[in-house]
Subunit: 462 residues, 2 copies
């Protein structure tokens, strides 16, 4: 992707003020920028202008100025020491998880990545629960807004600390999320999202001053928020469509963005249809007894061979749980081995245990070999969570196809957005009915592993 | 002055959202505005957009939207109930006093006016004292900024209450002040104003989001701040020049804007020169033993006839003090009567008292006839304050004339800005040397009285 940032840093050397040259500091700056080809007076919020006198006098009348230029003119978003490098922050605000990236806007290099749980979970696990909470009062809406903004500020501060700079060096931001996450982030009411006909308050792309949302980046920095499509198909899906190029692909293309809400787009020979399904957070490791994020010790691949369990963990560490691709493999393998029935019932065998809390469960790894000294199990209710998730996704695909007068057999290309699509075992996804049974070349490649990229499956003792 | 507000209110009736028409509320609004001829997507800060869903559903899909349109597009500054009238607030931020005006932006009518002391006085009486205070720390600068903004918010709230609306109906603001007041209001550093060569941080005209300064008006409202000329000739003087038309007048014109800092402009046959003088707050009633604002009971005109004091008070109430025109008259009459010498020394006579605190003083009105039951005096130190004030002003005029190679005799027109110029007795101003001794038609008209416009001078008993 070519680097084309909305902001550009200029380093300027000004002439010192004298009794004969009483131009204001800002006028002096504008004159120097004009000499570099920047047109017209440069505007800025007071917080940016306020930094200039001190910077100039501390740095021998030099400064670095980050400009955001549009047809109407240029706006300064930061005034800093000469040589400051401008950084950008991009964030995907999922219902369950947040993923943020710190980017050097001069080199285009990603300086760091950080994932964390969306703290709004404390006020409702899914979108409808959070809408319900926010509808109760204005202060609830503000609580949810502060929660997400606080988490983003922490992510930004941590990533910047890792890059050896303060968060004020972040001069531009891009954020996406589903329509409800978008509204709760921007502080827009969600009542109309929660009641028929479920319309968004705002759908157009937004350039919002980060400070207006409480984001602690450069004082004049903006956050660009992609447009929403509808009440339940949001800016995150728009970014997926842009990145995947689905809208301009030929034939019949289905694209899935798997998350707590899974958005589905169908490109039916040029006609675009989209919907959202409530698939739950199972593939993000939530609502799964031993579910976890894709980090060290997560079982990311699992096979049952001759009644024996084989698995691979991230970084080959002793297992401590199952990440999304691992739980998908586990359910698929249990189904193929006949341990789980077509309805999801779990038959007893020598690896079945009865867990006090979760009922019938299958022993994936006993306590003696795990990293935390406790059994790792796949329970009956874990299977149900996966059933709900894959059923929702498959229904979304089928409904869009029906709307376009097509069937699954017409699909030329089936795409899964993001990292998950490249990590999961596609055969497992087909085995449990999450993906339609398409020819192999119509399905995502899959099979990449988080840990070290090796697809080898060691036969581990159980 | 023709009414040409920067913001315009539009009332719109939208089509309700339905299952077949899922446009977002904001898109629906933009479409309705486009049908009224408003070009392009309308932007707005989140706080403005957030109001729309509730307003639409409470008012049967009607709303009043106040737009601020520029070449680059339109921005919504307020979304309210249909029929809301847009109001504007203009304020002159003096070093000592604030004067604010609430204006109906549809009719152009001034709905109310309010004056009050600048609460920054608690941190320094004059500009240099406040610069010194602000230079001590960032928190001092913030304290001064909060003080002025808090006072403006109170003035706005009081004026709006008088007009029967909330402060959110104020959708646009204009503010002026000298360069230091400007910087302290905007939150700009003032170190460089307080040290040679005394340059402004910012001189260009500013459009600042009112919310950025903590001003409690419409959530998207702006405050327009006129440009500064230099470190000590600020936006208030620019507004005076615009209103008085001095820059386009013929001949040699001198314009004074009298205040704690008095700005002087000389138009020398088309060449404009300006300076500022530290004249002190005497004419605003401060630093004068019995000084007061021009309100009920203030002595606004005074004569000494045959050794007897005659005076007129505002609203003919019993006297409680002297306003600016009154103290000017008093000092002039004392000088003409020979009670005050050319150096300012006060000779004793039968009306002289020795005040414990102020030393020699002249009894203007004895306790038995005053409104508050205490003597009203003009002290030796009051005379000194007036000497300092008029000396500073006259020096400013002379220095500019000298710079242009002219003398006072070359002045064709001598103008005093604002209300003060029309209230003072011009002969008194000439008598004490505040104005040069010019032909009568070159001087301001003067002589208007605050109270009831009658120039009659009742002979009051003393």
């Amino acid at each position: 992707m070519p680097l084309e940032p909305a902001v550009v840093a200029h380093t300027v050397q000004l002439e010192p003020a004298t009794q004969e040259d009483l131009r204001s500091d800002w006028t002096r700056l504008c004159d120097a920028l004009a000499a570099q080809g920047v047109q017209g007076p440069v505007t800025a919020p007071p917080s940016v202008m306020a930094a200039l006198p001190g910077v100039l006098r501390r740095h021998n009348w030099q400064a670095s100025v980050v400009l955001r230029c549009r047809a109407a003119g240029c706006e300064a978003v930061r005034v800093g020491a000469p040589g400051d490098r401008p950084l950008g922050f991009a964030v995907d605000m999922g219902t369950t998880k947040l993923a943020g990236y710190l980017v050097d806007l001069q080199s285009g290099k990603t300086l760091g990545m950080r994932g964390r749980m969306n703290p709004q979970i404390a006020y409702g696990e899914d979108v409808m629960a959070r809408i319900g909470y926010a509808m109760q009062s204005q202060s609830h809406l503000e609580t949810l807004q502060r929660a997400i903004v606080g988490a983003l500020n922490e992510m930004i501060a941590e990533l910047c600390a890792g890059a050896g700079v303060g968060p004020g060096h972040v001069v531009d931001m891009v954020a996406v999320g589903n329509t409800a996450m978008h509204h709760l982030f921007v502080g827009l009411p969600v009542e109309q999202l929660g009641t028929a006909p479920y319309v968004a308050a705002v759908a157009q792309a937004l350039d919002i001053r980060a400070a207006d949302l409480g984001l602690e980046i450069a004082p004049g920095g903006y956050v660009y928020i992609l447009p929403n499509i509808a009440g339940f198909v949001g800016a995150d899906h728009v970014s997926m469509l842009l990145a995947s190029n689905i809208p301009s692909m030929d034939g019949v293309v289905v694209g899935l963005d798997i998350g707590t809400n899974t958005e589905v787009t169908l490109n039916a020979n040029g006609r675009l249809l989209a919907c959202s399904t409530a698939s739950g957070p199972a593939f993000e490791g939530a609502h799964i007894r031993d579910g976890m994020r894709a980090s060290e010790g997560a079982i990311e691949r699992l096979r049952i061979v001759d009644g024996k369990v084989q698995y691979q963990t991230i970084e080959h560490a002793p297992p401590v749980g199952l990440c999304g691709s691992g739980i998908l493999d586990a359910v698929a393998q249990l189904r193929l081995a006949g341990i789980v029935s077509v309805t999801g019932a779990m038959a007893g065998n020598d690896r079945t245990v009865i867990d006090d809390v979760h009922g019938t469960a299958f022993l994936v790894a006993p306590a003696r070999i795990t990293g935390h000294g406790a059994d790792i199990l796949v329970s009956r209710s874990d299977v149900q969570e996966i059933q709900l998730a894959k059923g929702a996704m498959r229904a979304g695909v089928k409904i869009l196809l029906e709307e376009a007068g097509l069937t699954e057999a017409d699909i030329d290309t089936f795409i899964i957005a993001g990292a998950f699509g490249s990590y999961i075992d596609v055969e497992s996804a087909v085995a449990i009915g999450m993906f339609p049974p398409l020819p192999r070349d119509a399905l995502p490649a899959g099979g990449q592993l988080v840990g070290d990229g090796r697809a080898a499956m060691p036969g581990l003792p159980v």
